[in-house]
């Protein structure tokens, strides 16, 4: 699959990102997300480009790009699907979700379907254990999933029918999400609530009972 070229316009947008920070190299992570939104991956050329814009060596950029698993060095499909495989999700059905997903798509971790529609990944705790088991589509949450919902989700994505995150946001593509992660506002920030009632239950109880975190050893 051919990877999209980085053009002069893209470099302009990378410059915008670099200019946001007092020290330009701080922009590297957003820039890598941006490259990923353009290319569906971080290619050697993408690494080169970031290095040139930030006046780093390609090796320095590669060190960062290879450290974070969110940056892919192979072309992703249109959608990126993650299944949380950490303890809580796993126990509450995450393992079944993963099995279902791999069997449905016929691919494994960090692999892409031959039609370039899906890339799937076993992901770590998304800090959403209250609504386990959790999946993500293009890093948007799919809370409290089960295999049936998963099947339906895949069908819809395949046919291009509109899909919303269980929290509200309309799912488009990993490319759009990466652009958002890079720091370009998509105007949809209010489409998903920050947290639902189940997530706030603990806080509510604590407030009612006037509970605070213990002060003492190890707490600053």
């Amino acid at each position: 699959m051919s990877v999209k070229e980085i053009t002069a316009e893209h470099i302009e947008e990378l410059e915008v990102l670099a200019a946001k920070y007092p020290v330009r190299r701080s922009a590297l992570l957003p820039m890598l997300h941006y490259v990923q939104s353009v290319q569906g991956m971080v290619s050697p050329k993408g690494i080169q480009t970031c290095a040139t814009v930030l006046d780093l060596t390609p090796a320095e950029v590669a060190a960062v790009a290879t450290f974070y698993t969110m940056f892919k060095r192979f072309p992703m499909g249109k959608h990126h699907i993650g299944v949380c495989i950490n303890t809580l999700c796993a126990l509450l059905g995450g393992d079944d979700l993963w099995k279902e997903l791999t069997e449905t798509l016929g691919i494994g971790h960090d692999e892409t379907t031959s039609d370039s529609m899906f890339t799937i990944e076993r992901i770590e705790c998304q800090a959403a254990c209250t609504v386990a088991p959790v999946m993500t589509v293009n890093w948007e949450f799919m809370d409290s999933m089960d295999p049936a919902k998963l099947k339906e989700l895949i069908e819809k994505l395949k046919t291009g029918a509109p899909v919303q995150s269980t929290r509200g946001t309309l799912i488009t593509s990993i490319s759009d999400s990466e652009r958002l992660l890079a720091g370009f506002n998509d105007g949809k920030v209010n489409d998903s609530p920050d947290a639902d009632d189940s997530m706030l239950a603990g806080l509510r109880v604590a407030k009612e009972r006037n509970m605070t975190a213990p002060i003492g050893k190890g707490v600053r």
Partner: protein, 793 residues
């Protein structure tokens, strides 16, 4: 016990009291535990720690117990503090167990292939696994493996399995060399050193990482699998490749040099050296001359016995008395250059001698004679390290004197130093020095130098290229006086400063004594045991004048030693000169294009096969001993003694001790010096649109004669490109990537163009790289006016 003078300790001598293994000691505040322990004789095992690199505590091998701390701590990263009580593995079971634990982890994925590993036998991991490890591994499952080796560059190979992720190599590349082309990639169990795709580890200092890698993970293509450390004999030597004067360790086996390493010398090269000095010794085995040759009556060169060749040489010289000149290269030892200097005067009765086989001038001779030769107060590396302001003129440190580059970089990183470069553009090397460039056309350096604000007590470093720019050296001396700033001349070749001190110049005798000074002549004549009148009182001809005189038929014989015609200021004229004289003696290590013109060709010993001294740019003597003895190759001095003997002269320089004794007998000269140069600068004439000024210098790794036979090293050369400013490129209808041809009446050079930020109306091309040989193709020098055209002409 009080420990001071630690290299990493802070400058303040504030002392604190602490205890290690029950021994109370006072150390300067800031002293790391590992260093203090070392000084009291306790070696805490370590991998990532290196005294010249900032601490990272990456490998965890150096864990010790510190009273009051819950867990063992890395002694390489923690400074002793007042009252601290530390226990190393010598007195603490906790520390001992911690170290054994770390060692066990390190060995889990280590291949333990010591029997086929270059490092086996000199490996910190091997050694420390013995002292701080367990005898049997408890790890029974499969080890992580990687395909091996990974080629980081054509010269540096990586066996990832052996790596202990200490990050010495990556830290060196970033901190010291400023070339972060290798990095720790990936994470967790997959963490590995690597390069970015298509961006090899082409750093001029890459070889140092092989030396400091504490395991056999980094190896050099040239040495890999060639030898075992315990089969090698090591000798301390001095590098012959440039005037930095690096101390090297030459390791040889069965009379063959197998590898060279940096020999730590805190005053000069510290722990490092450059890749040229480390890897370029293949020339020792390439085109070596071993047999004297003479030209017979049919005009053919035939092998000759030493006595015959020497007699023929002596007879030829006697025939040409009064019409002889001596042309030297800049690569001779002090002793050999001295022998030529003496031979020219005593045996040939001439001052026609010059070591400058490169662009030079009378102005330069005066500069060298008045301000450089015999100067015992020259700038030192230490002074550079502590300097506040350094001004670079006609000098590109990373390419032309890499250890100066490293020292300036060190000073810059300490935050003291501001480097100002009078140069056509901000090179990558200058960028790494955080230098400010005053963008200057070649030819206008003098004007710029006298125009800029220079703080008192700055240091001016002026390169040998300055000789090509009329008036520049005169101005530089003036500016140095006016601003009370020391000035130091940085030659490129290792033998230039020594040859200068030896008096291998037409107006100078040894020790900066002017030829024209009667008492100087008589001092020297006395030591040489000849009458005063033996040394001509008139200065002789310099290199270019010798060439001209030869072409005009005014000379009959030439002695040409240690030089290659391809390096000459004008190779074409040089060849004409050789053809014009009757009798040519060449003396050298390698066969080159000159040898075949010789009536007598005499082979001499390379640096490995003799002892001698190089004087580095600081004026510091760098004596070295003979590494390989079995070849019986002779020094230049010995060969000259033989010729002198055949001329019935008592020359007396048979062995190195004779030479050194005579040099010390000559002692220091306190008399007059050559006049300070007072030459006018030349105004740059108006020129047309497609005319540009040539700027050019040697790249460290290029097609130099002493880099032959080293393909791995050659693979790390920079690619040859030409630079132009945007404006000048536009005027000539050129853009980046185009081919641009630089031409003059002599010839042309065509290179791909890169547009960079630089001074207008100047083109920069490499001096002696694969597709850019300025002397051979153009016979030109920096500052010359050239024509440029688009495409290949």
């Amino acid at each position: 016990m009080t420990l001071t003078s630690d290299n990493k300790a802070t400058n303040t001598q504030e002392l604190i009291t602490a205890t290690i293994d029950g021994i109370q000691m006072q150390v300067p505040k800031g002293t790391l535990i590992i260093r203090a322990a070392e000084k009291m004789g306790t070696f805490v095992p370590r991998f990532c720690d290196h005294p010249s690199l900032a601490p990272v505590a990456a490998c965890r091998m150096c864990l010790v117990e510190i009273e009051g701390m819950p867990k063992p701590q890395p002694s390489c990263a923690i400074p002793l503090t007042e009252g601290m009580v530390v226990k190393t593995q010598m007195t603490s079971k906790v520390a001992e167990d911690a170290q054994a634990g770390v060692m066990e982890f390190l060995l889990i994925n280590h291949p333990l292939d010591c029997p086929v590993c270059d490092k086996g036998g000199e490996c910190p991991l091997q050694n420390q696994a013995m002292t701080a490890g367990r005898t049997e591994s408890r790890f029974e499952i499969e080890k992580r493996t990687f395909p091996k080796p990974l080629e980081l560059s054509t010269e540096i190979l990586l066996d990832r399995e052996r790596c202990v992720e200490c990050a010495r190599c990556t830290r060196f590349s970033e901190e010291i060399a400023g070339d972060p082309f290798i990095e720790l990639l990936e994470r967790g169990a997959k963490q590995q050193v690597g390069i970015a795709t298509d961006e090899p580890f082409n750093s001029y200092f890459s070889g140092n990482t092989v030396q400091i890698c504490p395991v056999g993970a980094l190896t050099s293509s040239a040495y890999r699998f060639r030898s075992r450390p315990f089969d090698l004999v090591s000798v301390k030597t001095t590098c012959e490749h440039c005037a930095a004067g690096c101390s090297l360790r030459t390791d040889y086996r069965r009379e063959t040099v197998m590898r060279r390493l940096a020999w730590e010398d805190p005053e000069v090269n510290e722990d490092w050296n450059c890749d040229k000095g480390r890897f370029a010794f293949g020339y020792l085995k390439t085109n070596r001359l071993t047999q004297p040759k003479v030209r017979n009556l049919d005009g053919n060169q035939i092998d000759a016995l030493w006595p015959d060749a020497v007699d023929i040489a002596a007879a030829g010289l006697a025939n040409a008395q009064g019409k002889v000149a001596v042309l030297l290269g800049g690569r001779l030892t002090l002793e050999d250059a001295y022998a030529y200097s003496k031979f020219a005067r005593v045996a040939l009765g001439t001052n026609n001698i010059d070591f400058r086989n490169r662009d030079h001038s009378e102005e330069e001779q005066q500069f060298l004679g008045s301000a450089v030769a015999g100067n015992h107060n020259s700038v030192t590396y230490k002074e550079l390290e502590n300097a506040q302001n350094v001004i670079l003129v006609s000098f590109e440190p990373e390419e032309e004197s890499p250890i100066i580059f490293l020292r300036l970089r060190k000073a810059m990183q300490k935050g003291n130093l501001k480097v100002t470069a009078i140069a056509p553009y901000l090179s990558k090397g200058l960028e790494k020095l955080n230098a400010e460039v005053v963008a200057t056309k070649p030819g206008e350096e003098g004007k710029v130098l006298s125009g800029i604000d220079i703080v008192e007590n700055s240091i001016i470093l002026i390169g040998e290229r300055a000789a090509a720019i009329p008036g520049l050296l005169s101005v530089a001396l003036e500016v140095s006086n006016k601003t009370q700033s020391k000035i130091s001349w940085i030659p490129r070749r290792a033998g230039e400063r020594g040859a200068l001190e030896a008096g291998a110049l037409p107006a100078l005798l040894p020790g900066a004594r002017p030829v024209a000074d009667a008492s100087a002549r008589s001092e020297v004549a006395k030591v040489w045991g000849v009458s005063n009148s033996k040394i001509p009182s008139e200065p002789g001809l310099d290199h270019s004048q010798i060439i001209k005189a030869a072409i005009n038929g005014e000379l009959k014989a030439l002695i040409i030693a240690g030089l290659d015609v391809l390096d000459a200021p004008d190779p074409k004229l040089f060849s004409e000169a050789i053809n014009a004289v009757d009798f040519v003696i060449t003396i050298g290590v390698q066969e080159n294009s000159l040898t075949r013109y010789a009536n007598v060709s005499l082979p001499v010993a390379p640096v490995t096969e003799k002892s001698g001294t190089f004087i580095n740019w600081e004026g510091r003597p760098r004596p070295f001993g003979k590494a390989i003895g079995s070849t019986n190759a002779l020094t230049d001095a010995r060969v000259l003694s033989m010729i002198a003997e055949s001329m019935d002269l008592d020359f007396g320089l048979q062995i190195i001790e004779d030479l050194r004794m005579e040099l010390s007998e000559l002692g220091i000269w306190n008399g007059s010096k050559l006049e300070k140069p007072q030459f006018e600068s030349k105004e740059i004439v108006d020129f047309k649109n497609d005319n540009v000024i040539l700027s050019t210098w040697h790249q460290l790794l290029d097609e130099g004669a002493m880099q032959v036979g080293e393909e791995h090293l050659a693979g790390t050369q920079k690619s040859s490109v030409a630079y132009l400013s945007e404006e000048t490129a536009k005027q000539n209808n050129l853009t980046t990537g185009d081919l641009v041809t630089v031409l003059n009446t002599r010839g042309s050079i065509t290179l791909p163009l890169e547009i960079i930020e630089m001074v207008n109306k100047v083109i920069w091309i490499p001096f002696n790289s694969k597709d850019s040989k300025v002397k051979q193709s153009l016979g030109a020098k920096e500052g010359d006016i050239m024509l440029i055209e688009k495409g290949k002409v």
